[in-house]
Symmetry: C2
Subunit: 206 residues, 2 copies
Amino acid sequence: MSDKLTLGVAARLSTYLRILIQSRKQGIESISSQEISEHANVNPTQVRRDLSSFGKFGKRGVGYRVEYLIAQIQDILHSGGTHNIALVGAGHLGSAIAASSIFQDHGFRIAALFDSDPARIGQTAGDLAVEDSATIAARCRDLGVILGVLAVPPASAQGAADQLVDGGVKILFNYTETLLSLPDDVTVHTINPAEEMLYALYFHLT
Amino acid sequence: MSDKLTLGVAARLSTYLRILIQSRKQGIESISSQEISEHANVNPTQVRRDLSSFGKFGKRGVGYRVEYLIAQIQDILHSGGTHNIALVGAGHLGSAIAASSIFQDHGFRIAALFDSDPARIGQTAGDLAVEDSATIAARCRDLGVILGVLAVPPASAQGAADQLVDGGVKILFNYTETLLSLPDDVTVHTINPAEEMLYALYFHLT
């Protein structure tokens, strides 16, 4: 596989990988395309086609070995390593993110947590000490961070994003609803459950 | 438009609607397909094609009127009304969700908030009093809730999901990583930023 994956394939493989990693965590050793399909909201034929195009992973009637399939998909997605994240915002949402094992399970390490509130700086959330937002750019450069997560109030989002980008961040996960203006080489992913609800509701109503 | 939208079109229209609603909130009255394209990570030709298939919304060089386009897309997505949500979990994440205006901006009203921790029941988060999780099913039936949000610890996810489904919930937003076993007529959307990060990173690295 030297060809670049299409957006759709890469998105589905990321979904399968998330399901497989969670299955492993729940002690599940093998999984069928039907089970992957149900958890992924993707039809089983598509699941089998996506996985078969990378070689023979599964056996009919036996299913896929979870551990092996994780390794294969991580190889295809180049996601086997560990990547540092900078998290900005140590309020309710930032604290929930810092305390969650979701990132860690997928090879993402929250390397630094920032807040601009003096009352929060120096406190801990998860295993992290809250650092001063004024140091975002310098710290991101030192840590080689390319992924930033914004869990700040909407009015602080653009400023925090600018500092992350100054520090070399190229991929931003924006939990605020603020529309950001950033350089063309920076990709912003907005995490907005309401958008996914609109979509889910459409298929429920029609 | 009596035909059902494809998954891709419905997903993109939900994204455009999220961007338009936020634009209106930021006081923006007109928007170009180029601007929608940048915020949506969708190419401008695709944006124009998606919007043109529902009639002439925009004028070349002038852009789309935000207010008008919101009304049109809401009509297409049947999303103009208000829909009740039940939120389970009043910890950091649940509190962040309850305090956010993201849902409300899109016509979703958090009608009830539940937790099983006696220390939290009766407390408030956002404008909501925390109710006892033991009442989930009955309250969901009373309120006519079809959308449930799980913001509970992973080990509580299946139990909370079962209670929501007992109460008539058909669409679940699962913020935990737990893989849920639920009836076929219930759709689960898993909100996992790590999955989207895997995907974003792939396109950054290749």
